[in-house]
C-alpha cells in the first residue's frame, strides 16, 4: 500500500479517536449505566476502555506508517560534520 494511503488511514484513526473523546451524545449514559466493578461510574470507566483503544490505535499506526530507517541512512551522516561546525 502506498505511504500516502497509509498516512490517510492514520488520519482516519486520529479523527475516530477525537470523535470518541468528544462523544457528548453518550453523556446521558453517565446516569444510566451501572457502576463497573461496583465502583467505577461510566464517565470514569469509559476512559479505561479508551486507554485500551489508544494502545491498540498506536499499535495499528506503528504497523501502518512507522517504518524503521534503512540501515545505511545515517552512514554518510552529516551529523559529525554539522556537530563539529557548531562547536
Amino acid at each position: 500500500m502506498n505511504f500516502k494511503v497509509r498516512l490517510g488511514l492514520v488520519i482516519l484513526i486520529v479523527l475516530i479517536m477525537f470523535l470518541l473523546h468528544n462523544s457528548f451524545w453518550l453523556w446521558d449514559l453517565d446516569a444510566r449505566v451501572p457502576l463497573l466493578f461496583g465502583f467505577m461510574p461510566f464517565a470514569y470507566s469509559y476512559y479505561i476502555g479508551y486507554t485500551i483503544l489508544a494502545v491498540l490505535a498506536m499499535r495499528l499506526i506503528i504497523g501502518l506508517a512507522w517504518p524503521d530507517p534503512p540501515g545505511n541512512l545515517f552512514e554518510q551522516s552529516g551529523h559529525k560534520k554539522t556537530t563539529n561546525s557548531r562547536h
Binding site: 464517565a43 470514569y44 479508551y50 486507554t51 499499535r59 517504518p67
Partner: protein, 492 residues
C-alpha cells in the same frame, strides 16, 4: 513525621538521588552531546520514564485531584482523556521525524531542527525566544506549586522558602554533575516509585474509607452530580472540546520533552514508548481523579484553593506516619522530575542556540556553560518563586496554550514541502500575539466564538502558515531535499 522508618525512607531516597548524580558524573563524557543528550543512547525504559516524569507535574496529584474534588469523575476525561491518545501520537507525528533529522544532521533542539529545515536563523531565533518565554514562567509555577505542596504535606514544618530551596537544591545535586543522564536515571527511579506508591496510597485511602464500593455508594447517595458530566458547568461541551487543544497537544512542544525524544537510541525505542504511554498517563491521572472524588465524601465542604489540598489532607487524616513520608516522597518526586528537566532544557537552549550567536564554543566549554547557566536559572527561578510577580504568573496561566499554537508550524515543517520560512515566521508570531490579546482582554471575548482562545489561535496558525507560504516563493529544491529527501528514504 517523627516516625523513624519514615525518616529513614526519606533519607534513603535523598541518598539514592545524590548517588545517581555522583555516578552519572563519573560515567559521563565531558562533551556537549553527552551532557545534554546522554550521547543519544537512551533505551526504551529510560525514554519512557524520562518523558513520563517530565510530563507529570504537581498539578497531576495536587491540582487535578482538587479539580476532581469539585467536578467529579468527568474531570478524568476532561483533563487527560484526549492526551491518553494524542500525546503519544505526537511522539510519532512530530517526534519520529525530528529524531531522524537530529540523528542525521546532529540537531539537538527545536531551534536547530526547524531553523535547519527552513535554513533560517530567524526561525531558529523565534523558536528560542518563544520556548524560553513560555518555559521560564512554567518552571517558576512548577516550583511554586511544588513548594506549597511540600509545605502542606509537612504541616508547615518546612516553610515555603525552605521548600523551594530544597526542591531546587536537590534537583541541582544530580543535574549539575550528570546532565540529562542524571535526570533520566532519577526519572526511572522516581517514576517507578511514584507509580507504585500512588497505587498503594489509593488502596490505603480506600481501606480507611471502607472500601472502593462503599465510597462510591456514598457518592451516589450524597452527591450524584459527581457522576454526571452533563450537570457540570465547568465541563460544558464547548470547554471540553477547546481543552483538547490545551495541554494534550502541547506536550511534544515542551523543550524538555522534545530533547528527550531526540536522545532516544533507536526508532524501536520510540515505538515502544508511544505504544505503552497511554497506560502510564491513564493510571496516574486515574489515581489522582479517584483521590479527589473520594475526598469530596471524606472531607466535604472545601472549595477553590482549599480543594487543591485534598490529597495532603487525605494523607494526614487516614494514613500512618510512614505512609505520610511516602506521600511526601511522591510529591517530591513528581515536582522535582519536572523542575530538573525544565532547568536543564532552558540551560541547553541558551548554551546551544543563544551563546553561539556571539561566541564560538567548543564541546567542553559548552558543558561548563551549561552548568553555569543551570545555577543561574535555578537562582533566578528561586528568586521569582519567592516574590511571585503577577506578570510571570499570568504568562504561566496560558503557557500551555502558547506551546500548543507552535505545533502547526512544527507539523507543517515536517510534512509540507511547500511551507516557507516566511509562512513559518508569520505563523509563529501572529497566533502568539492573538493569544496575548485574548488573554489580556484587549480583544473582546465574543471574538473567540465561545471557545477558549487557544482554539482560534491554533486555527489562525494553520491559516497563516498556508496563506503566507503560498504568497511567498517556494523553498529551493536543495533545501527541500535536505529534509524531504531524507524522509523519502524512510517513508516509502
Amino acid at each position: 513525621m517523627t516516625n523513624a522508618i519514615g525518616i529513614g525512607l526519606l533519607l534513603s531516597y535523598l541518598c539514592i538521588l545524590v548517588a545517581i548524580g555522583v555516578y552519572g558524573a563519573r560515567v559521563s563524557l565531558k562533551t556537549r552531546e553527552d551532557y545534554f543528550l546522554a550521547g543519544r543512547g537512551l533505551g526504551s525504559i529510560a525514554v519512557f520514564m524520562a518523558l513520563f516524569a517530565s510530563n507529570i507535574t504537581a498539578f497531576t496529584i495536587i491540582g487535578h485531584a482538587g479539580f476532581s474534588y469539585e467536578t467529579g469523575y468527568g474531570a478524568y476525561g476532561y483533563v487527560i482523556g484526549w492526551s491518553i491518545f494524542i500525546t503519544p501520537f505526537t511522539y510519532y507525528l512530530v517526534g519520529y521525524r525530528s529524531w531522524l533529522l537530529g540523528k542525521k544532521y546532529g540537531f539537538a533542539t527545536q531551534p536547530q531542527v526547524f531553523g535547519g529545515i527552513f535554513n533560517s536563523k530567524l526561525i531558529s531565533l523565534l523558536f528560542l525566544v518563544l520556548l524560553l518565554y513560555y518555559t521560564l514562567p512554567y518552571l517558576v509555577v512548577s516550583i511554586i506549586g511544588g513548594s506549597l505542596a511540600f509545605t502542606t504535606v509537612t504541616e508547615g514544618m518546612v516553610p515555603y522558602w525552605a521548600s523551594a530551596l530544597v526542591l531546587i537544591g536537590i534537583s541541582l545535586v544530580y543535574t549539575l554533575p550528570a546532565g540529562l543522564r542524571g535526570t533520566v536515571w532519577t526519572d526511572v527511579f522516581q517514576g517507578t516509585l511514584f507509580l507504585v506508591v500512588a497505587a498503594f496510597l489509593l488502596s490505603a485511602v480506600a481501606r480507611a474509607l471502607g472500601g472502593f464500593s462503599e465510597i462510591t455508594a456514598d457518592i451516589v447517595e450524597s452527591n450524584p452530580v459527581m457522576l454526571q458530566r452533563g450537570l457540570s458547568e465547568e465541563l460544558a461541551p464547548i470547554n471540553w472540546f477547546s481543552y483538547s487543544f490545551v495541554n494534550s497537544i502541547a506536550v511534544v512542544v515542551f523543550p524538555q520533552i522534545y530533547t528527550r525524544i531526540l536522545a532516544a537510541r533507536s526508532s524501536a525505542n520510540l515505538k515502544q514508548v508511544s505504544m505503552y504511554y497511554p497506560i502510564a498517563l491513564a493510571v496516574i491521572f486515574g489515581v489522582s481523579t479517584l483521590l479527589g472524588v473520594w475526598g469530596s465524601v471524606a472531607v466535604p465542604g472545601l472549595s477553590g484553593k482549599d480543594a487543591d489540598n485534598i490529597v495532603p489532607l487525605l494523607i494526614h487524616q487516614f494514613l500512618t506516619p510512614t505512609w505520610m513520608v511516602l506521600g511526601l516522597v511522591v510529591v517530591l518526586a513528581i515536582v522535582k522530575s519536572s523542575i530538573d528537566s525544565q532547568l536543564l532544557s532552558v540551560a541547553h537552549l541558551v548554551t546551544d542556540d543563544f551563546l553561539p550567536r556571539f561566541k564560538r564554543i567548543n564541546s567542553q566549554q559548552a558543558v561548563l556553560w551549561g552548568r553555569l547557566l543551570l545555577v543561574i536559572f535555578a537562582a533566578v527561578a528561586y528568586y521569582i518563586a519567592l516574590i511571585r510577580p503577577a506578570a510571570i504568573l499570568s504568562i504561566a496561566g496560558f503557557a500551555f496554550s502558547g506551546f500548543s499554537v507552535i505545533l502547526p508550524v512544527m507539523i507543517g515543517a515536517l510534512y509540507w514541502p511547500r511551507a516557507t520560512a516566511q509562512g513559518a515566521c508569520a505563523a509563529l508570531i501572529l497566533p502568539s500575539v492573538a493569544l496575548h490579546l485574548w488573554y489580556l482582554g484587549v480583544l473582546p471575548e465574543w471574538t473567540t466564538l465561545g471557545f477558549m482562545p487557544v482554539f482560534p489561535s491554533f486555527v489562525l496558525a494553520i491559516l497563516t502558515l498556508v496563506i503566507v507560504s503560498y504568497l511567498t516563493p517556494a523553498p529551493s529544491p536543495e533545501q527541500r531535499e535536505k529534509t524531504f529527501g531524507l524522509f523519502g528514504q524512510v517513508f516509502k
